[in-house]
């Protein structure tokens, strides 16, 4: 018994420590909880990703895409954005609390085409103030000789087509001084390089701490870039003028950097390059973002989108809280009403459960969604169920004439098996939902799993420790405390034996265990000493677990 007492105290200390830790994660209330966008408002988009040839991308390619989208999303200034793979080929982008939805949709969803053009060899016309002027220059005085048949292609461009078989129009938004009209260029296709040459791009600083843009190439891309820049450097050495190349995203010129032929007489070789200029940090970041964007290995096709306003989210959260509090309150009342003192212990365990689960949610952190809250509220019932199973077992043992203390022990021992089987089945299905269902049910399944596990701890381990300690006090050993009437102890003890094997009534009262009988000093007044006790022989047979 001494050993049990120490163990029980230890368990309760652990519970107390966990409560303190949980409180730390919960306080200040509401500040540390991650709300899903259905609760705080925001935008969620689900994309289906495919390779240009229509096949399913590899996991690596999806991860790479997620990395790029993450960088794009970070540029939007959303603090709790979540970009995740969903199923085999879907990517879900959640942007909670976002205000400018249109910009977000455009930034995230654009399937940009990044191209590099060698200005000296590929620019047909430009810069011109209008598309018409650019086409006219290309027709009358092209900067490079055009192949035959270019006329029909130029006509198409003049009518508004952005790209033809050999030619493409590139616009540059006016951003020099007061010049707000865009400038127009015409380049020949194919581009010198495309976005597939790039592994990664980032904003950095040069030796003089000015913002610049770093580009890391793939090994193949590095060779291509080396070739292009060697060309530019050679031309530069011949003409004595630094040559430039154009970085174009979706027919929009993003940058037009030069290659300094004095610094780089052989072009820029290796797997990385830097673009310097009069960038602000933001401009450098934007350019890096654009270059990354173009390196997207898959095409994205939007298949679902959901926009929730902050008001709807707040309403939903409010309603869910009311439902949760009402549910918990009613269960607490019912447990006390039905199980009296045991119910009180269960209620304490339920409240501990609530605090631990909520703390755990904030600590992990789990993003709380509506289905998640539904799962949480449902697990309050599951946690109470565990106590119902155990307490009914305890009551049953008491009615059979056991002392309260030994009834508590065997109630837990036997009840636990039932709870374990029932909860394993709940866990199994929750795991299946988590693995196979789409995003929203996933949140529900995850809460259900956490809830069932935590409830096994609070409803079984913690209440047992608490009851174990309390059973040392003599006031505890009164069956009425748990809602068992003294009269029932006789009645059901007889009833419980009906239909069983012919029984032998032993003379000795009590439990068949002398130790148990001595435990109960002041209790026997409620249980008559002459009541029929269960024979020791039957006891051994009840302990057999396996059915035949």
């Amino acid at each position: 018994m001494k050993h049990h007492k120490q163990r029980n105290i230890l368990i309760l200390l652990v519970v107390a420590a966990l409560l303190v830790v949980s409180a730390f994660y919960i306080y200040p209330f509401g500040k540390k909880t991650h709300l899903g966008l259905d609760l705080q408002g925001g935008l969620e988009i689900v994309y289906k990703a495919a390779l240009p040839n229509g096949t399913v991308p590899s996991r690596d390619q999806l991860d790479q895409t997620i990395g790029i989208i993450n960088r794009r999303v970070n540029g939007l200034g959303v603090s709790e954005a979540a970009v995740q793979v969903q199923g085999a080929d879907q990517i879900s982008v959640a942007l909670p609390g976002i205000k400018n939805v249109d910009q977000a949709v455009r930034t995230v969803g654009q399937t940009a085409q990044l191209q590099f053009f060698n200005d000296g060899k590929q620019r047909v016309a430009g810069p011109e103030d209008s598309l018409a002027a650019a086409v006219k220059t290309a027709e009358t005085a092209p900067l490079i000789p055009l192949p035959k048949g270019a006329k029909t292609e130029l006509d198409k461009l003049a009518k508004g087509e952005t790209s033809t078989e050999y030619l493409t129009v590139v616009a540059q938004p006016g951003k020099y001084g007061n010049n707000t009209t865009p400038l127009y260029f015409i380049y020949t296709l194919p581009p010198a390089m495309t976005g597939s040459a790039i592994a990664k791009s980032s904003q950095n600083f040069d030796q003089r701490s000015r913002p610049n843009v770093l580009i890391d190439f793939t090994s193949k891309g590095g060779k291509q870039f080396g070739q292009v820049t060697r060309d530019l450097a050679t031309t530069g050495q011949i003409t004595g003028v630094n040559q430039s190349f154009a970085i174009v995203l979706d027919n929009q010129m993003e940058s037009d950097p030069i290659v300094d032929y004095k610094q780089n007489p052989d072009g820029i070789q290796g797997t990385s390059a830097e673009i310097t200029g009069n960038f602000t940090i933001q401009e450098a970041k934007d350019l890096a973002l654009v270059i990354n964007t173009g390196a997207l290995p898959v095409t994205l096709h939007q298949i679902e989108s959901q926009e929730v306003s902050a008001t709807l989210g707040k309403d939903s959260l409010h309603q869910a809280l009311i439902a949760g509090i009402a549910g918990l309150g009613l269960i607490l009342l019912y447990m006390i009403f039905y199980y009296r003192f045991l119910g009180l212990v269960a209620d304490i365990a339920l409240i501990i459960y609530g605090v631990l689960l909520f703390g755990l949610f904030n600590a992990i952190p789990v993003t709380l969604t509506l289905p998640g809250i539904a799962g949480m509220i449902l697990t309050i019932g599951v946690a109470a169920d565990a106590n119902v199973v155990i307490f009914e077992r305890i009551k049953e043992e008491v009615r059979r004439g056991r002392t309260v203390r030994s009834a508590v022990n065997s109630g837990y021992a036997r009840g636990f098996r039932t709870i374990l089987d029932a909860n394993v089945l709940t866990l199994l299905t929750a795991a299946v939902i988590f693995e196979f269902a789409s995003a929203q049910p996933k949140g529900f399944a995850f809460t259900l799993i956490l809830g069932v596990l935590v409830s096994m701890f609070t409803a079984v381990v913690a209440t047992r420790a608490l009851l174990g300690l309390l059973s040392d006090f003599s006031f505890f050993n009164r069956p009425a405390f748990m809602g068992v009437k003294a009269a029932d102890i006789h009645a059901l003890a007889d009833d419980g034996d009906a239909g069983r094997r012919p029984r032998r009534r032993p003379v000795a009262p009590g439990d068949g265990r002398p130790a148990a009988a001595s435990d109960i000093a002041g209790v026997t007044s409620t249980t008559s000493p002459s009541r029929p006790a269960r024979p020791a022989k039957r006891r051994t047979s009840t302990a057999r677990k396996k059915k035949k």
Binding site: G87, G327, I331, I377, L378, A422, L428, I433, R500, T542
Partner: protein, 320 residues
Amino acid sequence: MAWFRKIYSFDYMGHKYLWFTLSGTVIAIGLLSMFVRGGGNPAKGFNYGLEFKSGTRIETTFVKPATTAGVRAVVAGQGYADAVIQQVQSRNGGTTFQISTTTLSADQQLALQKALNERYTIAPTTNGGIDWNINTVGATFSREVITSSYKAIGIALVLILIYISLRFSWKFAVGAIVAEFHDLFVVIGIYSLTGRVVTTDTIAAVLTILGYSLYDTVIVFDRIRENAPKMSRVPYGDMVNRSIWETLTRSMNTTLMTLIPVVCLLLFGGSTLKDFAFALLVGVASGAYSSIFVASPVLTLLKEREPKYRKLALKAGEVS
């Protein structure tokens, strides 16, 4: 309360064919509804939510007074004459509407938003946005939701079958699985019959029911497993009856403990939570019923075919 006492001594197993008929009738009605509503294809006999169809659903609140007909006129003016307009619970001090259309592109959404804003002024939110909620689903997405749901249900049932076979025996597992199918068909039958909207949350709720409705079944089975060796000279059905009587209070209490939060969700939750709670409510109730009236009778039926129990039953005159 005399009748109430009777549930603790009622011969449940003696009436198994009555229960089978009852459950069979309820399920048959549900299946009939699925066939009739689906025009011969039971899979189509449901009112599927947006996730299962493709389309756009907008929920928005207007500051200026608006009527369903007025909103329909504005939406039709944008070229969506067959859009479904519904007034829903108001919030934000205005009138709130739900507009369901075919899939709209971002530009189309924006145009519609502008048109509605000009006419009725969309209510602002506290964070500086507007009360404009929109959900768009493409056809690919809905197909995947359906296939993943079927897969999940199939895998869950197989795992349950294996677990119960290991912990009890295959006869228990068969009883439990038949009860599972019973619960599953009762829930989907009621969804088809009432025409309630089926969403992905409904599917999650149905899957949860698969796991949770076994709670009561496990409680009874556990007691049967425990009583069987002690009562080996009693017909199997009588032993099952006794096990049910002994566990009835806890089955009712665990069901009540689960129904309390579910009913609270149904009463106080928003529309998403209500959907969820309705499926759970039907499923939990059906699960409690099926543990006594489906799972246990099926188990008894299987066991009574064993020579040993057949002899005992014959002796007691319970089977012929």
